[in-house]
């Protein structure tokens, strides 16, 4: 089978899984559906010849599921929301608007380079000179750690700040109510 057929199958699977995750009532099923969507994305990365990304996405997905389940798997969170709570008109208007956005954006996708024929202006330089200039056989890590090292520094800063923020938010709770058990 050609790769496009596989990718269409995986993407359709991801779309169905996402809709399931959003519409399902049970919280645990919803989180697990999101996990399945992320693992399908990891498979899609493998098909698109990005093994580094597939490994990182796989790890990310497992960590995300662990965090979400640890945080939200309490009995008291599993409340049934009453059906009068959902606004049907708002949902209908949103779906129609998003459909219109999709319809009008199809012309934009026609202007993009076709699938399988990238421009690769910058990448040509990296592919030709990456090994001699950085000494790395893996060109993705050559770009991350050498050509775009400042990007990676910024990424680490953002990640550090986010983790620091999350820890700070959780620690406030510990001080105010010491008897309650730690959730995350």
């Amino acid at each position: 089978m050609p790769i496009e057929t596989w990718l269409i199958f995986i993407l359709g699977f991801m779309i169905v899984g996402s809709i399931m995750a959003l519409e399902i009532k049970d919280l645990l099923s919803s989180i697990i559906a999101i996990g399945i969507v992320g693992l399908a994305l990891s498979v899609a990365f493998l098909f698109l010849q990005a093994p580094d990304l597939a490994i990182v996405q796989f790890l990310f997905e497992i960590f995300a599921i662990i965090i979400l389940i640890l945080a939200f798997l309490k009995k008291e969170y599993h409340k049934k929301d009453d059906p009068s709570n959902t606004n049907k008109i708002l949902t209908l208007v949103t779906v129609i608007t998003l459909g219109a956005i999709l319809f009008f954006s199809i012309d934009v996708f026609k202007a993009l380079p076709a699938f399988g024929e990238p421009y690769m202006n910058t990448a040509k330089y990296y592919l030709e000179n990456g090994a001699t200039e950085t000494g790395s056989a893996n060109l993705v890590s050559a770009i991350i750690l050498d050509y775009r090292a400042y990007d990676t520094l910024g990424e680490v800063t953002v990640l550090f700040t986010a983790i620091l923020g999350a820890l700070t938010i959780i620690r406030i709770k510990k001080k105010s109510s010491g008897t309650e058990e730690d959730v995350v």
């Binding site: 779309i15 699938f115 993705v140």
Partner: protein
């Protein structure tokens, strides 16, 4: 082109969740769906027909490699997404402890 459209539909599903859902947990999940779609879109651009992954070896030819630049940038983006998810989850848990609900309409109607 059908792949781009499907990927955009995935992004729109996430946007639909952000706009219509009232449960904070569902909104966090929708945000991560949008992240998946954005990452996948960039990698779809990078693919070249009959090309292999950008790791040099004896048998690999440089002309037949996929674009390594979007892969490097998306690698950054995935890691940041994990940090953002952790922070959103922490915020949601704190909000639940204060208001005893995940419903954003009820949280909005309460003051302080």
């Amino acid at each position: 082109m059908i792949l781009y459209i499907l990927c955009f539909i995935l992004l729109l599903v996430g946007l639909y969740g952000v706009l219509t859902k009232k449960d904070l947990i569902k909104i966090i999940l929708s945000l991560s769906i949008m992240g998946y779609a954005a990452n996948l879109f960039l990698i779809l651009f990078a693919y070249k027909n009959d090309a292999i992954f950008p790791i040099l070896s004896e048998s690999a030819v440089q002309e037949a490699m996929v674009d390594p630049l979007p892969q490097a940038l998306v690698l950054t983006s995935i890691v940041i997404e994990l940090g953002i998810t952790a922070m959103l989850v922490a915020l949601a848990v704190r909000l639940y402890q204060k208001y005893k609900t995940f419903d954003i309409t009820k949280i909005r109607s309460l003051s302080g």
